[in-house]
């Protein structure tokens, strides 16, 4: 870095100036980084021309770089200080010439010499300030060495150009400083929102600056420079005050003019101005001029206005506030006491202001605390209660005490802090809280002393809260229950049932459910309970926890069980009885069998021997003996018949009667066949149109029809040919009625019911033989087949018997 001026700044002993002064001087010219100017470009052009050099510069050597105010042939406006040759040149008092820099050890390594532009020749004249400080050069450079240096003429020209450049710089510096000073003044006045004035009292001429016009919104120059014009713009309300102030100034009452008033702005509004001025007198002491300043204070006035409004608002708030607002100064003296405070404490504002707060409303036991708190804050700035909500007691004017809630804030007014307390009588809220607490306790008492067990469980069924009764039902203590879920103490057989329901409940699918279930008591026995489960939802309506109300129904359950057992016992007894009855029936059956077998055998013998007697020995008997024998035979026949009918009837009562679809026409045909085979041509019997199929047992039905037709044929007046007609009638509800109508003796209405009973006879055996069981068999047959029977008759006009059975549709 040979050639660097780095050794320069502080080692300037040999040159008579310090680098710091030099740089300071350079800064004063404010030339660095300014745009090219013709005055300086002319200088470089002349230098290049005269010196016949390809490069000419007006170079200013700054701390880290050199700046070219003007340049010819180099194309850049600055270079790093390390490459500067001028930095060497300025250390010379006069012209500095380097004929061949390549051979000059100071510059041989300079990049401008060694590489790049390969400069060889340099000649520069220093720019020296009036204080003798070199700040740069006017220099020329060439690519060729010039062993002869510059000609004398060229040297002189270069020096002259350096002086001319310096003169230019100096001129620019002075103009710049003036402009700056004016600018500063202008800025100061602008910041002041004011303008100066100077009014000549004799001529009435008042000088205002363009800014003055601007302040009033008047086009510059349009404002008349007269006092009268000024007076016309005064606000009517303020004009008297202005004139008074002016008068005071002129007659010497006031030392200076100092007045605030409104003047009209060109836009029609008013601006506030503050005018101050001094009266200047002539040699004779007569008032000559008033000079001073005008300040636009509109903004300040607005602020004042806002402040006033804010004060008014604050006052209104204090007035209207429901809370007591009390402000005290640092000495605990009351400075604010709003109407709410008046109402609450019973002291008027008048009475309260200036009093010590502690003496006025603070209970005796808290006075020390209050004073210590104040002292502590004043000493340390710490106030534990400041900004917090505090509840304590206060005292009214009448000495009564009541609860208050208050918040205190500290405010700085002037140097000393003030404290404002916002204070509220919370008597009624306390009462409400008390009521709530009481109701809460009542609820708790109810909960605890309820006859039902009550438990709250979380979403997993774990107990969160249980009442005493719940403990007593389950046998577990509260603590034991809180470590369990309801499933833990539920009977295993009921567990899943309850769980499933509970999950639905907690999923919000159901609002509530009830269940009869069992707990396993801590002591191991089963406890039956009625459970009513519901849930409590959160703000979003989702179930938060479950409520389970249980009632011990073990007693009821036991009663139910007993009832159930009783019913079972009853059932068992009925079964027993039924079994007995079945056995009895079986015995009866056996009895009937015995009758059929044992009773009929002697009848057969009786009949058989009587017949044998008649057949084998009839010839030896007289007519009477034979008649007796015939009567024995007849009696035997009757008895046999009787036994048979009884058997048939008893058989109908027992055993199963199997029903199937039966053709009415076919059964009737079979029955009639049987009757006419026994007694052919003894009756006229019609049967037609019996197309129906009925549900019946064919044998039983046939027997019933035989009985009816036999009766119809039998019960005719002597000598009458029986006429019997069978016909079917379809009744409602799917029934078919078979009518058996005769031309017989008929029945008296009083007998219509009786005749279907067993052994019921209306006529002597001699007149109309029969066992008296026939119609009983008919009725029992119909009953067993789900049908019915009946008769319509009138004495002497024939009878119309009917039986009714369920009709079977063809589809079956």
């Amino acid at each position: 870095m040979t050639g660097s001026p780095a050794e320069g700044p502080q080692t300037s002993a040999g040159v008579g100036w310090s680098e710091a002064d030099r740089l300071s001087a350079l800064r004063a010219y404010s030339i660095l980084d300014t745009a090219p100017e013709p005055e300086f470009d002319e200088i470089t052009e002349i230098a290049a021309l005269v010196c016949k050099a390809p490069i000419a510069l007006v170079s200013l050597v700054a701390e880290t770089r050199q700046f070219f105010k003007s340049e010819v042939g180099i194309g850049v406006r600055e270079m790093p200080i390390e490459m500067s040759i001028c930095a060497h040149a300025i250390r010379e008092r006069d012209l500095f010439v380097a004929p061949d820099m390549e051979k000059d050890p100071r510059f041989a390594c300079n990049p401008l010499v060694a590489d790049g532009p390969r400069l060889r020749f340099y000649a520069g004249a220093p720019l020296v300030t009036p204080e003798g400080l070199p700040i740069g050069t006017v220099c020329v450079l060439d690519h060729e060495p010039r062993p002869q240096g510059l000609t004398a003429e060229q040297g002189m020209t270069l020096r002259a150009l350096a002086r001319a450049a310096m003169a230019q710089l100096e001129r620019k510096r002075v103009t710049g400083a003036l402009a700056q000073s004016e600018e500063r003044y202008r800025l100061a006045v602008a910041a002041f929102h004011g303008e100066t004035y100077d009014s000549d009292l004799e001529s009435g001429y008042a000088h205002h600056t363009p800014r003055f016009d601007e302040m009033l919104g008047v086009h510059p120059g349009d404002g008349e420079p007269t006092r009268e014009w000024w007076f016309t713009r005064l606000h009517p309300d303020d004009a008297p005050r202005f004139h008074e102030a002016l008068r005071d100034l002129l007659n010497g009452t006031a030392a200076q003019l100092d007045v605030e008033f409104r003047v009209r702005h060109e836009n029609g509004g008013w601006i506030w101005v503050w005018q101050r001025g001094l009266l200047l007198r002539d040699a004779e002491g007569r008032p000559k001029r008033i000079a001073g300043a005008l300040l636009d204070i509109t903004e300040r006035k607005k602020v004042d206005e806002r402040l006033r409004a804010s004060e008014a608002l604050k006052g209104a708030i204090l007035e209207a506030a429901l809370d007591c607002i009390i402000t005290i100064d640092h000495d605990s003296r009351i400075v604010e006491w709003n109407p709410a405070a008046e109402r609450t404490f019973g002291y008027t504002r008048q009475a309260a202001l200036g009093c010590d707060l502690a003496e006025l409303i603070i209970p005796p036991e808290l006075k020390d605390t209050h004073r210590r708190g104040m002292a502590r804050f004043l000493a340390t700035g710490e106030g534990p209660v400041l900004g917090k909500r505090v509840e304590l007691e206060a005292v009214r004017a009448d000495g009564s005490r009541f609860p208050v809630e208050l918040a205190i804030s500290a405010i700085e007014i002037g140097a000393k802090p003030h404290f404002t307390a916002y204070l509220r009588d919370i008597t009624s809220r306390r009462e409400a809280e008390e009521n709530l607490r009481e109701s809460d306790q009542r609820l708790k008492a109810t909960y605890e002393r309820a006859f039902a067990g009550i438990a709250e469980v979380d979403a997993d069924g774990r107990y969160l809260r249980v009442n005493e009764q719940f403990s007593s039902v389950t046998g577990y203590s509260r603590e034991e229950l809180l470590a369990r879920s309801f499933a833990d103490i539920t009977h295993p057989e009921d567990r899943e049932r309850d769980r499933a329901q509970f999950h639905r409940l907690m999923a919000g699918e159901v609002e509530a459910y009830t269940l009869e279930k069992r707990y396993v008591h801590k002591e191991g026995h089963t406890v039956w309970i009625d459970l009513a489960a519901s849930h409590v939802g959160g703000a979003d309506g989702r179930p938060l926890y479950g409520i389970r109300v249980v009632r011990d129904v073990t007693d009821r359950k036991q009663a139910e069980d007993e009832l159930y057992q009783l019913a079972a016992e009853l059932e068992r007894r009925v079964e027993e009885r039924t079994a007995q009855l079945v056995q009895t029936n079986a015995e009866l059956s056996a009895f009937a069998y015995s009758i059929s077998h044992d009773l009929r055998a002697p009848i057969r013998a009786m009949e058989g021997y009587a017949e044998a007697l008649i057949e084998d020995h009839g010839g030896q008997l007289d007519g009477e003996a034979r008649l007796y024998l015939e009567r024995i035979v007849a009696a035997a026949h009757r008895m046999n018949r009787l036994v048979e009918d009884l058997l048939a009837y008893s058989r109908l009562s027992q055993g199963e009667v199997v029903l199937r679809p039966v053709s009415l026409a076919q059964v009737v045909a079979e029955a009639l066949q049987e009757i006419t085979t026994e007694k052919p041509d003894t009756a006229h019997i019609d049967a037609d149109g019996l197309a129906q199929i009925v549900r019946a047992n064919p044998t039983t039905l046939r027997q019933a029809i035989i009985n009816l037709v036999s009766n119809a044929v039998k019960f005719v007046p002597p000598g009458t040919m029986p006429h019997v007609r069978l016909r079917a009638e379809e009744r409602g509800e799917g029934m078919v009625r078979l009518w058996v109508e005769d031309n017989g003796i008929g029945l008296a209405s009083e007998h219509l019911e009786r005749i279907f009973g067993v052994f019921e006879r209306l006529h002597s055996r001699e007149a109309y033989p029969g066992s008296g069981i026939g119609l009983a068999i008919v009725r029992r047959s119909m009953e067993r087949m789900g049908g019915a029977c009946g008769v319509e008759s009138e004495l002497g006009k024939g009878s119309r018997f009917w039986i009714e059975l369920a009709k079977v549709e063809d589809a079956e």
Partner: protein, 151 residues
């Protein structure tokens, strides 16, 4: 050849008497031996004492068997007969006063060839006897029966 005997098994002497009278009246010449209980019936059929003499007590072509018998019932006799290799094809007609369905079914189950209820009147009895003889003795072809076949 006296092989057309009809064995009557009936405990009621009146019934048996009137039955045999009816057979006689119907002009049936077959011998009609009579025993009064089940044991006797089995003894007769197996040729046990006092019925060893087959000349005196020939093996019947038909048995008319009552069901309600002392000692051994008609059903038991039926069962025994059907269990005897030499006798099991012997035609047996039940003739009883019971018309009970259970008796009828059991009789057929045990191998009765027919089931008849004792008629209530003499006229009916005569008719029955004639029909039985006509059918079972004259028309029906019976298998060879030999009480000692398997012995």
């Amino acid at each position: 050849m006296r092989g057309e005997a009809i064995l009557v098994v009936d405990d009621d002497p009146d019934d048996a008497h009137l039955l045999m009278r009816a057979l006689r009246k119907a002009g049936i010449a077959s011998p009609v031996p009579h025993v009064g209980d089940g044991d006797a019936a089995i003894a007769y059929l197996s040729g046990a004492a006092p019925f060893q003499d087959r000349e005196e007590h020939p093996l019947p072509k038909l048995v008319l068997l009552d069901l309600k018998l002392p000692r051994r019932s008609g059903h038991e006799v039926l069962e025994w007969v059907r269990a005897q290799p030499g006798l099991r094809r012997l035609p047996i007609v039940v003739l009883t006063s019971s018309g009970q369905r259970s008796d009828i079914a059991r009789a057929y189950d045990l191998g009765a060839n027919s089931y008849l209820v004792k008629p209530a009147t003499t006229g009916e009895l005569n008719e029955l006897v004639r029909a039985v003889h006509a059918y079972w003795i004259r028309l029906n072809m019976s298998a060879q029966v030999d009480a000692h076949e398997s012995r």
